[in-house]
């Protein structure tokens, strides 16, 4: 199976040389095969978001290399890297342009990685396609193609952002706590949609979550991060048998600390 993502010993320090200096990534290594769906857990500030942001290219990393589908993307700027990626963020406001309509947002996503010229930003043929895609969400959005995204709820926006992320069949889908801002029922629905989209499109995906049960129930791999490193990598049969207690125990063993995260314990 082909390697889809390779993170090779990356380091990142924010605000170096100041009192705010923060060594956020401390030699992260990770390799994902095509079709892998890995869930990412870890305490607050463990470096989960920073790892995803490094892959997405928000800022240059200090050292190490990142390959997506064999291409070295380490030096590519964020918008150039976007062609390889689909991204959904924690804040439902982040993933869409609120002053634009649903169909315009989708049309923008459908042109990810292509040059944007003077042809129509959206064609009639696309509209039919988007209507069909929105219908699969079962949120009644297929009749609201021309509505501004700003009028929609957080759950509806996340669902649309998921469609947009998958629309170009990215090599890698990055989900950073994309259900954390939603109420439990909506979160479950968006998670279900995520599962379906990943399966239908055979996507390789990374999903950060604070919910250990979700982390166990979804995907075929699970990694745990701590202090800017991957400290646990569980896959296959071993992952299927995991329990929350196992994870907490493993965490204490590897890190030598208690898992100080109320949110994770409660959920």
């Amino acid at each position: 199976m082909a390697e889809m993502l390779k993170i090779d010993n990356i380091h990142k320090t924010f605000h170096p040389g100041t009192i705010n200096e923060k060594h956020a990534l401390n030699g992260v290594c990770l390799s994902l095969d095509e079709g892998d769906f890995v869930t990412v857990i870890g305490g607050n500030g463990a470096g989960k978001s920073t790892t995803l942001n490094a892959v997405a290219g928000l800022w240059p990393i200090d050292s190490g290399k990142i390959f997506i589908g064999g291409d070295d993307v380490t030096r590519l700027s964020e918008h150039k890297r976007a062609r390889y990626l689909g991204r959904v963020f924690q804040d439902p406001m982040t993933g869409t342009a609120t002053t634009m309509s649903i169909e315009e947002n989708m049309a923008i996503a459908a042109r990810r990685g292509e040059s944007r010229g003077l042809s129509w930003g959206i064609t009639k043929k696309e509209r039919g396609e988007y209507r069909r895609m929105l219908a699969t969400l079962d949120l009644g959005l297929e009749d609201r193609l021309a509505s501004k995204v700003g009028l929609l709820s957080g759950g509806q926006r996340q669902a649309i952002t998921l469609l947009m992320a998958a629309i170009k069949k990215p090599r890698l889908l990055l989900l950073d706590e994309h259900t954390a801002a939603l109420d439990p029922k909506t979160a479950a629905k968006v998670l279900e949609i995520s599962d379906r989209i990943i399966a239908e499109n055979h996507l390789t995906a990374m999903m950060v979550t604070h919910n250990m049960k979700d982390a166990i129930a979804h995907g075929n791999r699970l990694i745990m991060m701590h202090e800017g490193k991957v400290i646990l990598d569980i896959r296959g049969e071993e992952k299927k048998k995991l329990t929350v207690e196992d994870l907490l125990h493993q965490f204490e063993k590897v890190s030598g600390e208690e898992f100080a995260n109320d949110k994770a314990l409660l959920s």
């Binding site: 918008h79 976007a82 991204r87 993933g95 609120t98 042109r111 944007r116 003077l118």
Partner: protein, 314 residues
């Protein structure tokens, strides 16, 4: 009472066509302001300079023998160059948007003086076949209609082009950049490139408007753009307040919105003309404009704050 008696209604009536035409010409500039202020979400202060640049370029080229229509093309290009500089200051050098605009605006003052060789230059309508002129308005009904048709033509064609452009892939990319940079970049849009592009387009329109206005008044002046940004904002805001509800949700809503910006500029000049006619001190005009803009910019904010409080109490 004596003051009221001294007001001549006919004088007001006579001044209206001029105000109307002026509103149309400045409406083009207001469209430029709309692009940056509303679509790109960038308060661009370049316009005070680029308006005069457009005027200076057009006037000097006409004096040098160029056809007044062609001169407008160069006024547009000169405006685009100004927008490019502001864009690069902001995106390539990381200077905050407002400051980038101010820096360009200030430097354009010198540039404009250099273009004209002094602080103002005239183009007489007697010597050159100007596209529009204030003189045509008072001359005869025929020439007056010519001024209106020409300036309305400019506005309508510009609105049509902008309507088309912001429906293209590139136009969508600019709108996404203005709305949500994170989303834009995640979708592969270079926010820097599209910011520069929008600033160029906007200031191109401002330059064009300056070129037309210089012909209209028969001269370019290094100070002709002073306060232009406030007039542009006033036009945008008046358009939104007066016509906003009418435009929303319609087919071609965006075209109506653009037209309402021009209508806003016309209303602005009619109101200003009435203020002048009332013999209110013209020194205070800029103060009035600024107050109007400040009030209308504050209304949406105060509304949401008031609503928020209501909810908190209820």
């Amino acid at each position: 009472m004596a003051i009221l008696m001294s007001l001549d209604p006919m004088a007001l009536l006579r001044s209206m066509p001029g105000a109307f035409a002026q509103g149309l010409v400045w409406g083009l500039m207001a469209l430029g302001v709309y692009i940056t202020f509303r679509l790109l979400d960038f308060a661009d202060l370049t316009v005070d300079g680029s308006l005069a640049t457009g005027g200076a370029v057009a006037v000097m080229l006409i004096r040098g023998g160029m056809n007044p229509w062609s001169a407008l093309i160069f006024a547009f290009i000169a405006g685009m160059a100004a927008g490019f500089v502001t864009g690069m200051l902001h995106t390539a050098l990381g200077i905050p948007g407002i400051l980038a605009g101010i820096l360009t605006q200030i430097s354009l003052y010198s540039v404009n003086l250099n273009i004209m060789g002094r602080s103002n230059q005239a183009v007489s309508v007697d010597k050159y076949p100007l596209v529009i002129s204030l003189r045509y308005i008072s001359d005869s009904t025929g020439t007056r209609i010519q001024v209106f048709t020409t300036s309305i033509l400019f506005c309508v064609v510009t609105v049509a082009i902008l309507y088309w452009y912001f429906g293209t892939e590139q136009g969508h990319a600019i709108r996404a950049t203005g709305c949500n940079q994170q989303m834009a970049r995640a979708q592969g849009i270079s926010t820097n490139f599209h910011t520069v592009l929008a600033l160029m387009l906007s200031n191109g329109l401002v330059g064009l408007s300056g070129g037309l206005y210089a012909q209209f008044q028969g001269a370019a002046d290094v100070n002709m753009g002073r306060g232009a940004i406030v007039i542009g904002l006033a036009a945008v805001i008046i358009g939104e307040v007066v016509f906003g509800k009418l435009c929303a949700g319609k087919h071609f809503a965006f075209a109506y919105t653009l037209l309402s910006v021009i209508a806003g500029a016309i209303i602005y000049y009619i109101v200003m003309n009435i203020v002048l006619w009332l013999k209110l001190p013209s020194d205070d005009l800029k103060l009035f404009s600024a107050i109007i803009v400040a009030v209308f910019l504050a209304i949406p904010y105060l509304k949401t704050r008031y609503k928020g409080k209501e909810r908190a109490h209820g």
